[in-house]
């Protein structure tokens, strides 16, 4: 098992993708927002890593850093490494990086409608993705576009390639986006809230499709979501983010059985359940921190029911290795795991 908390000087790991101790800041008129504060996670071929967190916790910014699509400025990466097959993407020449982005690593977004160009047919848009990166002829690219639309199970792909984005339903548009992201046979697919805007029956169809594709094409998938149900349904491992850090990481079964960080526990306790009505919901008090003025010590301490002074207020907890690939960034991680707290 790899230690997730390795420092920057260790050699590159053997993972397909590895984010290591990444920091991202945004320099704005109002000050410096410390958005990513030492994120580490890794991904191997054929598995699904869920990145879970509430809005503003830094899930998308981390993904944008991997893709190399952060606007710099205002963004700045003061520290960190992102290895793809052992090479640090952050040190790579821009032309090599561009080769990897969109080809080896591709991404789909929540909002398919605004990601597609309304004035071109979907077939044209998929085939353009192919033609800007390969020597493919127009006809060959269009043929491949139809194959890709078949692959993502758009009924009647042959006739629908000529249709425009607005002629598709929300679910079908998301399928078009997925087809486009698969055009170059990526090894890593980053799906950023791919079903958040969709209805539940359509969401289920899309999540099934993504799971099938990941398996059939042996891709590694990073699934970004705020939905604890979606995570449990499809992920192998889960990384929980809070204020720009991975505060807990584990395989999906262990974490739902016994969370090792108070924040994860708080999240799990505060969701209503489909299978019973339940009584009063547990809540997490307060609000996520202001990223311009992060709390001292543990960034969760102002909201944590187990906070202990002075350690939690003064000392930022290291990410503790709990064995079996589990980590938790809490001073009382071991006690949490053993159920000896609260």
């Amino acid at each position: 098992m790899t230690n997730l908390q390795v420092g920057g000087d260790q050699p590159a790991g053997q993972h397909l993708l590895e984010v290591r101790d990444l920091f991202v800041e945004f320099h704005t008129r109002d000050g410096v927002a410390k958005v990513i504060n030492g994120v580490s996670y890794h991904l191997d071929a054929g598995e699904t890593l869920a990145v879970l967190g509430e809005s503003g916790s830094g899930k998308s910014v981390t993904a944008q850093a991997i893709m190399g699509i952060l606007d710099m400025p205002p963004a700045k990466i003061p520290k960190g490494q992102i290895f793809y097959n052992g090479d640090d993407l952050l040190k790579m020449a821009e032309n090599r990086r561009r080769d990897i982005r969109g080809k080896d690593i591709s991404m789909i977004f929540q909002d398919a409608l605004s990601a597609l160009n309304p004035v071109f047919s979907v077939g044209w848009q998929i085939s353009e993705t192919l033609r800007t990166r390969t020597e493919m002829s127009k006809d060959a690219a269009m043929k491949r576009a139809i194959e890709l639309m078949d692959l993502v199970k758009i009924p009647g792909a042959k006739t629908r390639v000529k249709d425009y984005p607005h002629q598709f339903s929300g679910g079908m548009r998301q399928r078009v986006m997925i087809a486009m992201s698969l055009a170059m046979d990526p090894k890593v697919l980053i799906a950023d809230e791919p079903t958040t805007a969709l209805d539940v029956t359509v969401q289920a169809q899309i999540m099934d499709l993504l799971a099938d594709l990941r398996r059939d094409l042996n891709m590694g998938m990073i699934l970004i979501t705020h939905d604890l149900g979606v995570v449990a349904d499809v992920a192998d491992r889960i990384a929980v983010m809070y204020a720009g850090r991975i505060i807990e990481h584990a395989d999906v079964h262990s974490i739902y059985k016994q969370p090792a960080h108070p924040y994860t526990r708080g999240l799990l306790d505060s969701i209503p359940r489909l299978d019973h009505k339940g009584t009063e919901l547990a809540t997490i008090k307060g609000l996520p921190p202001n990223l311009m003025r992060l709390p001292t010590g543990c960034k969760y301490h102002p909201r944590c029911p187990y906070v202990q002074k002075p350690i939690c207020v003064d000392e930022e907890p290291r990410s503790l290795n709990l064995g079996n690939g589990r980590t938790s960034a809490c001073h009382f991680a071991k006690e949490m795991l053993d159920g000896n707290l609260g």
Partner: protein
């Protein structure tokens, strides 16, 4: 809730069709969006009736009808023995006090240029009898406290509050006129999990303290189960099944309810191994041109010829005591 209170609101065969017109000078009606098409239910004193369904099924239109923000094509809604759509003058003013609404978007439903005190106190300008001028700021501060906000923040502006706090402001505004019924249209859908729980608990606390009745509209089936006593499931403008929270979630008989419940991802990795999976194909048809007979039949795995020719009524069927609008209603356990 063990026993149902008396009915406070009775909705009968409510219909709202939006005309689709063509032409600029001479508008010609070429069709109609059947947004709400024959909805009936009762709301009891002190209860929460949940309404679930996918987007476009008519939930918000139903809410707007009950608020009298839209006028129905036909149908009635009886409140205290009077049809709300026939009310005018003093009766209408009383209705406007009595039925309030909380909406999804705490960002756009509050005027950014007004202080929180002015926003919450605005209804008093019209309904002066509820809070005489000299008494207003005391009353507003009480409301702020009631919804868990600092009464000293009465002069702040909406942008100085977080999303969850803004939703509390929206709730305080709805409470200002001491209503009996609050229609909540997706009140927690825009909020993060940890904040959502705070707002749900607040709504439940207020219901107990003030004996409120809620119509709680949402697309999140877990949230609706948690907060509701009874639940109605909507599809393409119609209620297809209605019953107690337990009946709908543990003993659903309509195929659409079953498919909807089956599609909800559960926060339990073991669930994926032993859950009954039902996957619907395709999308919801257009409400401008709904299928004949049963509107669900184009996506239903049980559909027979009868489903295309004969509309299934929302009635009690042999299998279960709660109403279901399916010719072939049948128990199927999909949650658990």
């Amino acid at each position: 809730m063990a026993t149902l209170g008396e009915p406070i609101l009775r909705v009968e065969n409510l219909v709202k069709h939006f005309s689709i017109t063509q032409g600029i000078l001479f508008k010609k009606k070429i069709g109609a969006v059947q947004a709400v098409d024959g909805v009936s239910f009762e709301l009891h004193r002190g209860e929460t009736l949940g309404i679930v369904g996918e987007s476009g099924c008519g939930k918000s239109t139903l809410a707007k009808l009950l608020m009298r923000l839209e006028h129905p094509t036909s149908g009635r809604a009886i409140l205290n023995d009077k049809d709300i759509f026939k009310m005018s003058g003093g009766e209408l003013r009383r209705l406007r006090r009595n039925v309030q609404m909380v909406m999804q978007d705490p960002y756009t439903s509050l005027n950014p240029r007004m202080t929180v005190g002015d926003i919450i106190g605005e209804p008093y300008n019209i309904h002066t009898e509820v809070a005489p001028k000299g008494d207003r700021s005391r009353r507003i501060q009480e409301l702020l406290e009631l919804v868990g906000l600092n009464p000293e923040h009465i002069n702040r502006y909406p942008h100085q509050f977080s999303g969850g706090q803004r939703q509390r402001i929206g709730i305080a505004r709805a409470l200002a006129l001491k209503p009996e019924i609050i229609v909540c249209d997706e009140p927690v859908s825009a909020l993060d999990v940890s904040i959502q729980a705070q707002v749900i608990n607040l709504l439940e606390k207020l219901q107990n303290e003030l004996a409120l009745s809620y119509i709680f509209i949402a697309h999140d089936l877990s949230v609706v189960r948690h907060i509701s006593d009874r639940v109605g499931v909507m599809y393409l403008g119609k209620i297809v099944e209605i019953g107690t929270e337990d009946e709908i979630y543990q003993r659903p008989t309509h195929p659409y309810t079953q498919a909807l419940l089956s599609a909800v991802p559960m926060p339990d990795p073991d669930a994926r191994l032993h859950r009954d999976i039902i996957r619907l194909e395709g999308d919801v048809p257009s409400p401008a041109n709904p299928p004949s007979g049963c509107r669900f039949r184009t996506r239903c795995w049980k559909a027979q010829e009868k489903c295309a020719t004969e509309e299934p009524l929302l009635i009690r069927r042999a299998v279960e005591p709660h109403p279901s609008a399916c010719h072939f209603a049948e128990l199927r356990h999909v949650v658990a």
